[in-house]
């Protein structure tokens, strides 16, 4: 490479008109991803974006890479096929809370447990946007929507808890408005070998505006954003006056002054067991009040497609490359003169 970067953001934009609603959080995420890819020294043709159905799933049309806008919920399965077929590609899954957690829940958890090398960006806006405002599997209990006029009685998923339970090797959360943090998380997820899961809180300003206001509002955000940093005590607030302790009953927010900095949990994203990460994921419901953002878990485990490729090499070492003549004779033959 020369000293000038290979790409600019424009190289990752397509000629297609972006058709999200004005003010949608998806624009910010699109810009974050395009900027991130422009900074990477990776050929554009090696990125593949696979999406399902929903507002967020239009994303591949706006990315000048290889891509597929597939069918509802199935993006992790299709992406798994791409990744297993060609481990040299970087495969991204763009999905939403309905796409990934409702109709496609099965594919999501199995892609995570297999640790197939795909990077999943789940745009969580806690509502069905494309179908115009029905409650989603992450909508809060009691939410009144067109399909829940008396309030939703569905208990919601916590996507980070779900991913941790599904044996994911990389689990993170960020928020559309915080582009610097999004870039940081994208970098770590990209570098992670295996399935990486990022929940992105994304504002739907038409059907579910201000769902994340406690994390984005000028007045409240400092008090509510808990940035997880590996190897550092989990503290937050304007003056880092608040902290998190983890005990047998789970994670709890405390005043650092009350317990002393030594009792504050030091974040370990590399912990082999996901128990503490899970406890951290339970700190906030809604999200209301202090909510962890950042990398909950980042551990190393063999990836599916590398193991598959290794098995092929092993089999060829042991049996030689496939010989069709031998194969059709492998069950025994006889000759008729």
């Amino acid at each position: 490479m020369t000293d000038t970067a290979r790409y600019t953001r424009a190289d990752f934009q397509t000629d297609q008109e972006v058709r999200w609603c004005p003010g949608c959080g998806d624009y910010t995420i699109l810009a974050s991803v395009q900027n991130f890819l422009a900074e990477l020294d990776v050929p554009r043709e090696n990125h593949v974006f696979i999406s399902g159905i929903g507002c967020s799933s239009r994303f591949p049309y706006y990315m000048n890479t290889y891509g597929m806008h597939s069918i509802h919920g199935r993006a992790p399965a299709i992406a798994s096929g791409v990744a297993a077929a060609n481990p040299d590609l970087h495969v991204w899954v763009i999905t939403g809370d309905g796409d990934a957690l409702s109709i496609g829940g099965n594919h999501l958890i199995h892609a995570l447990r297999r640790n197939i090398n795909i990077t999943i960006l789940l745009f969580n806006n806690q509502i069905y946007g494309l179908t115009k405002g029905q409650y989603s599997p992450t909508s809060e209990v009691g939410k009144r929507t067109k399909t829940s006029p008396m309030g939703s009685i569905d208990w919601p998923f916590n996507p980070v808890s779900l991913a941790l339970g599904a044996e994911a090797s990389f689990v993170a959360r960020t928020i559309d408005m915080d582009r610097a943090h999004t870039a940081e998380i994208l970098t770590a997820a990209y570098e992670h070998e295996g399935a990486a899961f990022i929940e992105i809180y994304q504002n739907c300003n038409v059907f579910n505006d201000k769902a994340f206001i406690e994390l984005t509002g000028r007045e409240t955000r400092d008090a509510n954003r808990i940035y997880l940093e590996h190897g550092k005590p989990i503290v937050f607030g304007k003056e880092d006056e608040k902290g998190v302790v983890v005990g047998p009953d789970g994670a709890q927010v405390v005043d650092v002054a009350d317990v002393g900095i030594d009792r504050i949990q030091v974040h370990d994203a590399k912990a082999p067991e996901p128990a503490v990460a899970f406890a951290l994921s339970r700190l906030s419901v809604g999200p209301h009040g202090p909510t962890p953002l950042g990398i909950f878990r980042d551990v190393s485990r063999p990836t599916y497609e590398r193991q598959l490729a290794d098995q092929i090499v092993q089999a060829q070492d042991r049996q030689g490359p496939g010989d069709l003549d031998q194969l059709v004779r492998s069950l025994g033959t006889w000759t008729v003169e």
């Binding site: 397509t14 297609q16 050929p43 554009r44 043709e45 090696n46 593949v48 696979i50 159905i53 591949p60 049309y61 990315m63 000048n64 890479t65 290889y66 891509g67 597929m68 806008h69 597939s70 069918i71 199935r74 399965a77 299709i78 992406a79 798994s80 096929g81 791409v82 990744a83 297993a84 077929a85 060609n86 040299d88 590609l89 099965n106 594919h107 199995h110 598959l308 098995q311 092929i312 092993q314 089999a315 060829q316 042991r318 049996q319 030689g320 490359p321 496939g322 069709l324 003549d325 194969l327 059709v328 004779r329 069950l331 025994g332 033959t333 006889w334 000759t335 008729v336 003169e337």
Partner: protein
Amino acid sequence: MSEETTADTRPEPEPIDNVVIRFAGDSGDGMQLAGTRFTASSALFGNDLATFPNFPAEIRAPAGTLAGVSAFQVHIADWDILTPGDSPDCLVAMNPAALKANIGDVVKGGLVIVNSDAFDERNLHKAGYETNPLEDGSLESYHLLTAPMEQLTKEAVQGTGVKGREVLRSKNFFALGLMSWMYQRPLDPVIDWIDQKFGDSPVAAANTAALKAGYNYGLTTEAFHHTYSVAPATLPAGEYTNITGNQSLAWGLVAASQASGLPLFYGSYPITPASSILEALARLRNFGVRTFQAEDEIAGIGTSVGAAFAGHLAATGTSGPGLALKSEALSLALMAELPLIVVDVQRGGPSTGLPTKVEQSDLLFAMYGRHGEAPLPVIAAATPSDAFEVAIEAARIALKYMTPVILLSDGYIANSSEPWKLPDLSRLPDLTVDYAEGPNQGESFLPYLRDPETLARPWAVPGTPGLEHRLGGLEKQDGTGNVSYDPMNHEHMTILREEKIARIADDIAPVEVFGDEDAELLVLGWGSTFGAIRAGVNRARKREAKVAHVHLRHINPFPANLGEVLARFETVLIPELNRGQLSRLIRARYLVDTISQSKVQGQPFKAAEIAMKIMQLLDGKDEQR
């Protein structure tokens, strides 16, 4: 008494030109194994053969009950046979339930060999017998032979080291030994197989001992002295192997992978009777085969769609219920115009239906089971060995026309076996594919710019610089592939997709008429009914009937000459293991007043059923439509 004097009292084996033998017992009795080994010996001996395993869906149904009976039928002959036989000439029944479930099929005067040890009060009761059929005279129209197989097996395996319940596990080998004696099959191939399978172990020793004991019991027991011999068949010269349909289909996919130079990807979810394709391919990693056991049927096809996008020869396999689940993704592959082979090994339906039994009832589902206007090529295997060629043909069409192809097999083809004359593998068709490598219109790359002849779009594989593009399920603008809601474009694209499939008709073999070109009656078939139809037609022709047979490999599109061929015959009979699905397609397409012969009993047609229908039609006795 010396060996020689014993030999003198035994008559020479009676030469017969063919025999149908059915091994029947509890599903845990090892009858499939006994039948398979008997078949292998016969194959090595040079007979022509066809087999038909028939087993319950339950792995271990309650012992001794009718529901738990598992059977394996093999037809061996010294001539070229087409079916596993209509009715057994010989039944081996390991218990009362096996006898009861199968005796009705045995030809009158046929040989019935039973394990008399199993005919105690408890087993008789479980099978629903009020009196012992071995003693009450109810079997007097058969040639009944009994042997205390369990007692004799126990004695035979003494000293081999097997204990407890393992002792009686060898009784299937006793039965196999006895049958090897009766039909003069060599034991060596079985002993070699036992050694290979079980190594130097007590189980190997016990199985071999039981096998020999069965053989020797026949040799020394006067009742069993009337034996039979079936001479080797005069098959075309060549090297043969005995193959089941799922095995040959798996190998056909591998052959297509080699012929195309593309790695094979097979995403699938286990389902009866398709699972053994996944199993067979999983063993072939050294061929570069990537099998992916998916979390469900949808992911089975989803991963394959992804692999096709990535440039692999992609396939998925399933049975009816799974095809239903794959329907949405199949439409995506159609819209994205990606090559994909979808194998449907049909079974009795609807719903869970009859998982281990044969039916051809997914034909209309394969034709029309998608939302929107969604035509796809549909082809069908006719016999176990034909599945090899059909798999290659499916790949050829998929790659050349950039389309998913549905390949229909069924439970009968999947599990039955026949001798397969090994093809000349140096003469596989050239399926080489040219991926797109650069712009195809000026400086631009248009992912939906079509080949003017085939209407196929270019296949640009991720990783290729400069050809970045987006596929998707939304309607495409012709050429650019961009999303388009333009009404005229949608109609244009719908017709283009239809036309692309229709044009395949000019690129497939025309149908060939077998039999009497000047006949009034044509029997038209597809899929696994081939053997029964051909044998039925042959029988009718031996009785001086004039009749012709056409068997379809390609069902969508139909071969170009089919309409003209149909028009040459006054009557068209279509036997199918469904309620007349091909018949409806033919009526709709060609306005031919077809006669449907339908069977939905989970069993294949018998040649006699086809022959009888032909004779009825020709005698004008049957006006039933």
